[in-house]
């Protein structure tokens, strides 16, 4: 019998809160973590960013007994999120039947500019991830998924496969990225950043905002998933094979990934598609094409970048978690920043909260390297 995958615990750490519930309530109430900054380090071009208060993280870390000075800010974000999720899951994370998967794009890269007393090897993603498994006393080698902006969805897909194989019973899947001058200067050099609040899918969208977040899901392999519990049904990763930094004009990879997930559900059963929606001209246009081609033009579309910015390694995980809370609440979250339709294909996006009775959603992401990923979550049973 094929093993099914259940999501049994979750956590989101962001400027909007240190747990999933407070994050969901904040977003539903329309609050955003985005603020305008005039500079950071050697970056002297204004940008808008969702940044986590370091003191808040340090205080929360000391409350759960994480020794100060031992971990980098990136590692602290991961630990703060995963410790809470593992506790809520009630699993023994030191078991060799538990796999740790970390999703990040740049990890401890800020140490290149300022080592802050940490050994130089900590910039290696495997070493950073080892800090997390060592904390939990887990004997397995952690897997770091480094697939640019789609990493968080890829990490969940790989964890699902690892659990289905039978080798592991649980997977702790976490994602985070720290926003430093390294990443901000890079996106500024691409002219991809807006100094104002981002406007996903809007006709006047002028670029993305970056953001900081850590998010964790704990997945369990099971023979069946009970009613009113979340099942990670399927997922797929596809490449545009078109350009390393520009989206495909036909939305090829996103279209193919969507079509794979649609083998397991009907469009009319979807509560919504939670899109990438970075608010760059190219990304949102590409997603609208992919959604149209996949026959999902009438399905509600919602994006969270107006609340969190682009949280990179955390995005696929945090946006999946917020989507789960929204479905349970019969809600399609408002796309903050959107006002006037601005893509060739008029996807069903709204600046207001909407009601839904759907019990499934697709999480869609795309990233540099031409990569795209989609996954399908289902709330089992009926209302």
């Amino acid at each position: 019998m094929e093993r099914l995958i259940q999501c049994i615990a979750d956590n989101v750490v962001s400027p909007l809160g240190l747990d999933s519930v407070s994050n969901y309530e904040s977003v539903k109430a329309g609050r955003s973590g985005l603020k305008r900054y005039e500079s950071m380090g050697n970056v002297h071009t204004p940008f808008t960013l969702s940044r986590i208060d370091r003191q808040v993280v340090d205080d929360a870390c000391s409350r759960i007994g994480l020794a100060d000075g031992r971990y980098t800010f990136f590692e602290k974000m991961l630990l703060l999120s995963s410790v809470q999720a593992v506790r809520d899951a009630g699993i023994d994370a030191s078991s060799d039947k538990v796999l740790f998967v970390v999703s990040t794009t740049k990890g401890n890269v800020s140490l290149l500019g300022d080592p802050a007393g940490f050994p130089s090897e900590r910039v290696l993603l495997g070493k950073a991830a080892r800090q997390i498994t060592d904390f939990f006393g887990n004997p397995n080698s952690p897997l770091v998924v480094c697939n640019a902006c789609i990493s968080g969805v890829c990490a969940q897909i790989e964890a699902m496969r690892a659990l289905k194989s039978g080798r592991y019973d649980y997977a702790v899947v976490m994602g985070a990225d720290e926003q430093s001058p390294f990443i901000i200067s890079g996106f500024l050099s691409f002219k991809a950043i807006s100094d104002d609040f981002c406007r996903p899918f809007d006709k006047d969208r002028r670029g993305l905002n970056l953001g900081e977040c850590a998010a964790t899901v704990v997945l369990k392999a099971a023979d069946s998933v009970p009613d009113d519990c979340w099942e990670l049904v399927t997922g797929a990763i596809r490449n545009d094979a078109n350009h390393i930094s520009g989206p495909s004009r036909t939305g090829e990879g996103s279209y193919l990934a969507l079509m794979e997930t649609l083998r397991c559900c009907r469009p009319e059963d979807l509560a919504f598609v939670n899109v990438h929606g970075t608010a760059t001209a190219y990304n949102d246009e590409m997603e609208s094409i992919a959604i149209y081609r996949a026959g999902l033009i009438d399905v509600p579309v919602t994006g969270l970048k107006g609340y969190y910015g682009h949280t990179m390694g955390a995005a696929g995980i945090m946006e999946s978690i917020l989507s789960m809370y929204a479905v349970r609440d019969h809600t399609v979250l408002a796309t903050r920043g959107f006002a006037v339709q601005g893509t060739t294909y008029p996807v069903s996006v709204s600046p207001e909260l909407r009601v839904t009775d759907g019990r499934q959603f697709i999480k869609l992401l795309s990233g540099f390297g031409g990569c795209n990923a989609a996954l399908l979550y289902r709330l089992n049973g009926k209302w």
């Binding site: 740049k106 897997l143 697939n147 390294f182 490449n239 094979a241 930094s245 540099f368 390297g369 031409g370």
Partner: protein
């Protein structure tokens, strides 16, 4: 259960399934020499960072050895996945980029450098070259562990469109320092994959 064809590409060594490729230079110059001698029709090569150059040349040499780039059904080729592993990921590109932002009097960040600070770009470069629209993944691990690689490579076939995986290890610690191997795995190769990968790894300096 046959052995897998492979390419080993290291700073001063290029081996294709046991056959040593001759070259006069080493490091980045060797990559260009191999490109001119064996590939020569993809000028984008010269814009790539070292990690992508290594992955690109190694994948080209392997596909040439297998002489199957234009063979097989279009669907079989199009659905091919690319799954790569490494420990240092984009660290070399990261350090090069950091130099462009470290000093306020010498501050010149460029998209051409920044894009390569994502290690999965090498998977994109190979996908573009070969029109592969399957899965592309880059996994960062603590060290080259045949069991770990074999496990995650076999997981790639859980996607039932995936019939073959261009797989490998690629690390670059400096512009002239790199280690890699590439191989092509079909569904039939999953049985005993750990030993097959171990056999290749034992021939490398990884």
């Amino acid at each position: 259960m046959g052995q897998l064809d492979y390419v080993i590409l290291e700073s001063d060594r290029a081996v294709v399934s046991g056959r040593v490729l001759e070259h006069e230079s080493s490091g980045n110059a060797m990559l260009a020499e191999l490109y001119r001698a064996h590939i020569a029709d993809w000028p984008k090569f010269f814009k790539m960072d070292t990690l992508s150059k290594v992955g690109f040349v190694a994948s080209e040499l392997l596909l040439k050895q297998l002489s199957e780039r234009r063979c097989g059904s279009e669907e079989y080729i199009s659905n091919r996945a690319i799954v790569l592993f490494g420990t240092t990921a984009s660290l070399c590109a990261d350090k090069n980029y950091q130099e462009t932002i470290q000093d306020i009097d010498n501050y010149y960040p460029s998209p051409a450098l920044f894009v390569y600070t994502l290690p999965n770009i090498v998977t994109g470069e190979i996908a573009i070259r070969n029109h592969y629209r399957g899965e592309t993944s880059f996994y960062v691990v603590e060290g080259a562990d045949a069991a770990q690689m074999a496990f995650h490579l076999s997981c790639a076939f859980a996607d039932d469109r995936t019939e073959s995986v261009l797989a490998g290890w690629v690390d670059s610690t400096g512009n002239d320092d790199f280690k890699s191997f590439f191989t092509l795995i079909g569904k039939d190769d999953v049985e005993g994959l750990e030993d097959k990968i171990k056999t290749i790894l034992n021939k490398t300096n990884i």
